[in-house]
């Protein structure tokens, strides 16, 4: 049977018309012609080729670890890899063939030099090989060489020098990939743009220790008894990436600078979230390492169906739309509270809400042990909704009535309003299916 076509996902990024914004980020998932080709065939809009340098690293083994909670693996992923370990000439050959075979796909090439001559030469060579855009890697947290990696991204002087050196070797757009191992990304990003850069890519991996091996008394992964602090990525990195991106997009100087969003992207919903904060390009690695290139099919299908349903004709229709609603904490309204509401038909009487409310909130839930019944004591409930987050039953506890705090500065009374439009939690199910 034939399916209908949904919203168009094509989007302009730095002058390149990408068929969709989905790209492999620079990492082993985009390390050879064959790999990139397989992803592009699966529907990807482009790739950011694995960072090429003049230095060829010697990698350790093992080099990965992952964080799980209860049964879920890969909440976060730690790696100790450096830049491409393929010979320089071979990488250039891959690039030439990629551009020749996939002229309509966006070919972004990540580079990393150790001095200005290096950066210029790399920029020149990859441009000649067919790159559409260059990404400067200022942000790998586990480089073993000086003047390389995330130390660069935290050093304004080096950022300026290396951005300019890159621009000296090329006439195509240059994007700077930022490290999250700092407090304010606006500062290095501004320096990079002032030096002539065209766009920002964020984020690279977060410096981390995922686990300690308690027998060997070192971190994981263990390399002959030792380990290092190194980059953390995957789902756990997404909230951190989103906050850096929102900060930059809300910055007066940076707000119109294109951003390629990276960090924990797995689903079309993740993609939509990055776009709603202003990204016009999206990159991912960890999810591909876990599941493979095929997941891009569901990004394409899911995002285009959702956009059609929302009436968005293009990515730009909702790009950055959430930014206006992300405000400083002091600007939030604080004159009301939203009580949780328990659906007793769904409640299974586990008592988890009671436990969490007592031990972690305000002792506002009562427990009738005879009937295994929980009840909310509105006098004590502050509307924090911790119970809603811990309840294991879908849509059992939902936001309920809104009550204005008595005698607030606006003089509003304590009248209860049953608000239909209170933002509900994510797992709201449509229609009859809501059970």
């Amino acid at each position: 049977m034939k399916k209908r076509t949904h919203a168009d996902l094509s989007v302009d990024f730095l002058g390149f018309k990408c068929e969709n914004p989905f790209m492999l980020s620079s990492s082993p998932v985009a390390a050879t012609y064959e790999m990139c080709s397989k992803f592009l065939e699966a529907g990807g809009g482009g790739v950011v080729f694995k960072t090429i340098g003049t230095y060829i690293p010697d990698e350790c083994s093992p080099r990965f670890d992952h964080v799980r909670k209860e049964g879920q693996p890969f909440l976060g992923f730690k790696n100790m890899e450096q830049i491409s370990d393929h010979p320089y000439e071979e990488n250039l050959k891959f690039l030439r063939k990629l551009k020749a075979d996939y002229p309509t796909k966006c070919l972004i090439v990540s580079i990393m030099g150790s001095n200005e001559e290096d950066w210029t030469r790399l920029a020149k060579d990859v441009t000649e090989a067919g790159a559409d855009i260059i990404e400067c890697n200022f942000s790998c947290p586990q480089m073993t060489q000086e003047n390389m990696g995330s130390d660069v991204g935290a050093n304004l002087e080096l950022i300026e020098k290396f951005t300019k050196a890159t621009l000296a070797g090329t006439d195509i757009p240059v994007m700077l990939k930022m490290t999250p191992n700092i407090e304010k990304m606006e500062v290095p990003a501004t320096a990079a743009i002032k030096a002539g850069g065209h766009a920002i890519a964020a984020i690279n991996t977060i410096k981390s220790i995922t686990h300690i091996d308690l027998d060997q008394m070192t971190a994981l992964p263990v390399v002959n008894g030792k380990s290092s602090i190194s980059g953390y990525s995957g789902a756990a990195a997404k909230p951190i990436a989103l906050r850096f991106i929102a900060n930059m997009k809300q910055d007066e100087y940076l707000k119109d600078i294109p951003i390629s969003g990276i960090g924990g992207i797995e689903t079309w919903e993740d993609c939509a979230e990055f776009i709603s904060l202003g990204c016009t390009n999206l990159q991912f690695t960890t999810s591909i390492m876990q599941y493979g290139y095929r997941i891009v099919e569901d990004m394409i299908s899911g995002l285009s169906i959702w956009m059609e349903e929302k009436g968005y004709k293009s990515i730009n229709d909702f790009c950055g739309k959430a930014l206006q609603n992300i405000v400083p904490a002091e600007d939030l309204e604080r004159d009301f509270k939203v009580y949780p509401q328990i659906d007793y038909d769904k409640c299974v009487g586990c008592g988890r809400c009671y436990v969490s409310c007592f031990d972690g909130a305000h002792q506002a839930i009562t427990w009738d042990p005879e009937n295994r019944k929980v009840e909310i004591d509105e006098d004590k409930c502050v509307g924090c909704q911790l119970c809603l987050h811990v309840c294991p039953v879908a849509n059992c506890i939902t936001p309920g009535k809104v009550v204005f705090k008595p005698q607030d500065q606006f003089g509003k009374g304590s009248e209860a309003v049953y608000a239909e439009d209170v933002p509900c939690k994510r797992d709201i199910i449509v229609g009859q299916y809501d059970e």
Binding site: M1, K2, K3, R4, T5, Q72, E266, T267, W268, E269, Y291, R294, I295, E297, D298, M299, S301, G302, I305, W306, E309, V393, A394, N395, D427, I429, V430, G431, Q432, Y433, D434, E435
Partner: protein
């Protein structure tokens, strides 16, 4: 009585997943390379891909994958014998137990309906007129596929309601009628017309349809004649068969006299459906009389367990020899050991024969085709569904002698390809 038995006749016995539980189940899926589940679906519904879509929260995309491969995906989700199809080779069994594929498929198609999402493209009918004879799953699928290829499709059905066995056979506890109605509505929305109360061969002939401009025909007439045993007493009042019993119960939403002490003869899925119907409609005692052992019974074991849970009594190893009556009404049935000389006599006021169906004699009135001695039509439904008349194609139960809904769907797809090829190449 178990939880299940308390459920009403019209209520689905297996509870639905919600988003949270569907995600939990989808997270168990190993997202296999060359997914074995996808290879084992006769209709190519592609569970590997739609479970992945669910896993990545692309619920509508999951429905789209299902519908583009299997227009009756919501029905198959409920009636397929998964344990011998997609779930059979599931890699997860190597760890614990297979993924509940049917239930996930049901989740995705329910989500589609509940959200009003329409995955399929309606194509303008610009090509030849094609007729489907019968409105079971084979014809519905073939018609939908052809409509999307631009043909002007009409389905002719002799009964008052379309759907074939879906509407007159499968119990609502497994397949509620509203699901059948919704899926048929979707197919009508693709441009397929359905004319009920029209028996081809009797109310209208193929020649007459040819004169109206129909260029090709698909015969998906199914098998509707119930087999009976030739034992004394079969004509007594209270003796009936599965086709009549189920066919009266479902369209009337269970408004029949189910009998009070009911004996169902047979050990297949249809017998299980009869026992379920009797029990859920309030028969005080329901019994199954089957000549072989539990292990040998052709019914799917999941269905048998369900029926056992409902409190149905199974009597294995007996074959009926006489139905006893008083004043023309059945009062008991007598059985004899199938492999020994045991004797059994069960008091009852209803006897339902569920020992299989056969093609109806009247199928021969449709057209002068080649038939087997069992009145089924000779055609190769694994290849092209062609009969010996070039413009007539056939498939489903009327060709295979009785199989499954998903097989009928697979055949519908094959026939549509074949008819399209015939009309666009061979007939020109």
């Amino acid at each position: 009585m178990s939880e299940n038995a308390k459920k009403d006749y019209l209520c689905e016995a297996v509870p639905a997943f919600n988003i949270a539980t569907a995600m939990e189940e989808a997270s168990r899926c190993l997202l296999c390379l060359d997914a074995p589940c996808s290879q084992d679906c006769p209709a190519g519904t592609n569970p590997g891909d739609f479970i992945r879509a669910i896993r990545f929260r692309n619920f509508k995309g999951a429905a789209e994958i299902i519908r583009t491969n299997n227009v009756l995906g919501g029905i198959c989700a409920r009636v397929c014998p998964y344990e011998v199809l997609c779930e059979k080779g599931c890699s997860r069994s190597g760890i614990d137990k297979p993924i509940q594929i049917g239930r996930l498929q049901r989740f995705a198609t329910d989500y589609e309906k509940a959200s009003g999402f329409q995955p399929l493209e309606k194509v303008e009918a610009t090509k030849e007129k094609v007729a489907m004879i019968g409105s079971g799953p084979a014809s519905l699928t073939c018609g939908a596929e052809l409509a999307q290829k631009g043909y002007d499709v009409t389905i002719f059905e002799e009964k008052a309601i379309p759907g074939g066995v879906l509407s007159y056979g499968v119990v609502p506890a497994r397949l509620p009628q509203y699901i059948v109605d919704e899926e048929i509505e979707t197919i009508k929305n693709l441009g397929v017309k359905i004319e009920c109360n029209t028996k081809i061969g009797k109310d209208k002939t193929i020649d007459a349809l040819k004169a109206e401009g129909f260029k090709a025909f698909f015969v998906g007439a199914g098998i509707q004649a119930a087999k009976m045993l030739d034992v004394p007493g079969v004509d007594l009042d209270g003796v009936t068969n599965a086709v009549e019993y189920l066919g009266a119960a479902k369209p009337s939403n269970g408004d029949i006299d189910p009998g009070n002490k009911v004996v169902v003869i047979g050990g297949g899925d249809v017998a299980m459906d009869c026992a379920t119907t009797a029990r859920l409609l309030g028969a005080e005692k329901t019994m199954i009389l089957y000549r072989r052992t539990r292990e040998e019974a052709p019914a799917h074991k999941i269905e048998m367990s369900y029926v056992e849970e409902l409190g149905v009594h199974f009597h294995y190893g007996f074959t009926p020899v006489e139905i006893i009556g008083e004043n023309g009404k059945v009062t008991a049935i007598k059985g004899k050991g199938f492999r020994d000389d045991s004797i059994i006599q069960l008091e009852c006021d209803k006897v339902v024969f569920a020992i299989g169906q056969a093609a109806d004699e009247s199928v021969k009135e449709i057209a002068d085709l080649k038939f087997t001695p069992k009145n089924t039509i000779i055609a190769d439904e694994t290849k092209d569904c062609k009969t010996d008349i070039p413009y007539i194609f056939a498939g489903g139960d009327i060709v295979n002698g009785g199989n499954t809904v998903v097989q009928a769907v697979a055949v519908g797809k094959t026939a549509a390809e074949s008819i399209d090829k015939y009309l666009s190449e061979e007939a020109k």
